[in-house]
Symmetry: C2
Subunit: 341 residues, 2 copies
């Protein structure tokens, strides 16, 4: 007695990762429905030993579907998620469209699993940078309270999709051969460069990406007034987001206490040993389910401050893995929650 | 009536930049003495239309030399700078060896020019990340006071020398061809990766590079107790360091006031217009003399806080240019100080 599960945006970078993670999981899936735009229809993708055809997304695509994982952009979610929900399908949506809707729960299973129980057919998956951030903030909040969070990100290009991966690859190759490769996906060259601009700018000088970190962190942690500021920067890395996280706690916290807290946090792994140059890097974390934290030390610039370096696979915990974990939560499945695999 | 100027470490990445900047300058130089290790002796480098031979550094190399710019590492400076000074040569040292010595001034000409007047033969040039940082901190300190500074860096590989430039190039090419290229200069692969580790680790969990930012910033600004914390991260960029700078001011400051202050600061250029995606990136700033600041906005996480994005050419303002500017300061030359060229 398994489920019928759909993946919307099945041929995208995150969609493919969702299929891979569903494949790895022991979730009972009777049928996998792969949906995408007209131009991807007809492709087929291997799932648990069988080729599954991709079909075009239509209004009737969700009939008989129990759960749908959406990752096809905000406008597709805006239009089709309510249709799916109306047909009795529960949507787990990776776009930003519904995240701040008060009637839609925003969930990271290790952080606020109970919020997933009260939904009206749509549950939102957080922004990639935010997902890994709250994984390390929540245990600190629970133990000693949080009064302030400041983040500088080092975000890989895969967060911007297939075209961005290709642009970094082709532009790097061209530049190494001494030729230009005009940027298309990014506003500036990304090869051998860093770009302090992700998503569009808002009135307050922050980008949408940066305000997602502020607003989604508050919603996920249930701390609507927690001061959170982010600067989101794109770096020439294929997969894996890194973050310098500066936090201030209500009660004082030693480095050793912080390490112990994180060592006991589900889905978090501590990689921190200066004597052996041990700390996480995105190349090491790509393909992994855990969020890794290292470079843990007292903040020399503020009282009760801690600084650390947090790295995660933006396609996994930052997107596809978290969506599948929400699905596991909803199915109350006895299957082991995938983390720290 | 010109000077005899020596460059120690003439064949290194910074040494070559020093020669290029001396070449561009209108400093009256009668003779340029190029010094390096035995193995580089015999090479020749073009300076103002003539080939100048590189000779081996010896104890007697500074006889008749008025000024020597050192950039050959801490141990070379430790041994030869005092010898040069004893021979009546004034040393401008780019290594970290003398920077925190209370008897040695540490100088950024736009920030603390008067400190250069009281020396005993050696003047220190700051760390690359620190030089560009104080360029933007000093005008804010002067106008509204500073109570706290927090920095996350995005540092290019050229800060680690020629071998590092080659490693990024060769490793990137190898990875794009699907092959490995084991790291030698860096402890982890730098191609398509970021590494939160520059220089060696200290007892407090910070790296030497990070503590240079803290200590040198305090010395340069003349604020020995200013709280400053840094996280120094290497990124796969050839030239140009970037920094997310979070600062807290004594008196409140609007974004417009900060922009105006920086627009009137020598050597600083404001590149900040969200409507046209204008902000500095290291690829744009490479080869430029200015320190650029953009993404200026209020810090959502603290009162009287400001966040910005600061980019500079680490070989220029971060090293060679600043050294030549100190030389100009010392010669009281009427030549125009090179900045904002």
């Amino acid at each position: 007695m398994g489920y019928v599960v759909a993946v919307v945006g099945a041929t995208g970078v995150v969609g493919r990762e969702m299929i891979a993670i569903l494949d790895e999981s022991s979730l009972p899936i009777d049928r996998l429905v792969l949906l995408a735009s007209e131009k991807s229809a007809g492709m087929s993708i291997l799932f648990r030993g069988e080729q599954v055809s991709v079909t075009a997304l239509t209004d009737s695509a969700f009939v008989g579907v129990d759960y749908a994982l959406f990752s096809a952009g905000g406008s597709v979610s805006a239009r089709f998620a309510p249709i799916a929900a109306q047909q009795g399908c529960v949507v787990i949506d990776n776009s930003s469209h519904f995240r701040m809707d008060p009637s839609v729960p925003l969930v990271v299973p290790e952080v606020n699993p109970h919020d997933a129980q009260h939904h009206a057919g749509i549950i939102a998956n957080p922004n990639c940078s935010t997902a890994q951030l709250v994984m390390i903030l929540k245990p600190i909040l629970d133990h000693v309270g949080l009064t302030r969070v400041s983040v500088a990100t080092y975000q890989s290009v895969s967060g911007a999709g297939k075209g961005a991966l290709l642009e970094l690859e082709n532009q790097s190759r061209a530049n190494l051969n001494g030729t230009d490769y005009p940027p298309k996906v990014f506003g500036h060259p990304i090869a051998f460069n860093v770009i302090p601009h992700i998503d569009s700018f808002l009135e307050n000088g922050y980008t949408k990406e940066e305000m997602k970190v502020t607003n989604e962190t508050r919603k996920l942690l249930g701390t609507p007034t927690l001061p959170v500021a982010a600067t989101a920067v794109r770096v020439p890395v294929f997969i894996g987001h890194s973050e310098v996280v500066t936090l201030q706690t209500e009660r004082s916290l030693t480095v050793e206490e912080a390490k112990t807290i994180w060592q006991h946090s589900a889905g978090v792994v501590v990689m921190d040993d200066p004597t052996s140059a041990t700390y996480p890097t995105p190349r090491e974390l790509a393909g992994k389910n855990e969020v890794a934290v290292g470079r843990i030390r007292l903040d020399l610039s503020q009282e009760n401050g801690l600084v650390c370096w947090c790295v995660g696979d933006n396609l996994r915990k930052g997107a596809a893995l978290n969506a599948v974990q929400i699905l596991q939560l909803l199915t109350h499945s006895n299957t082991r929650m995938i983390h720290g695999a």
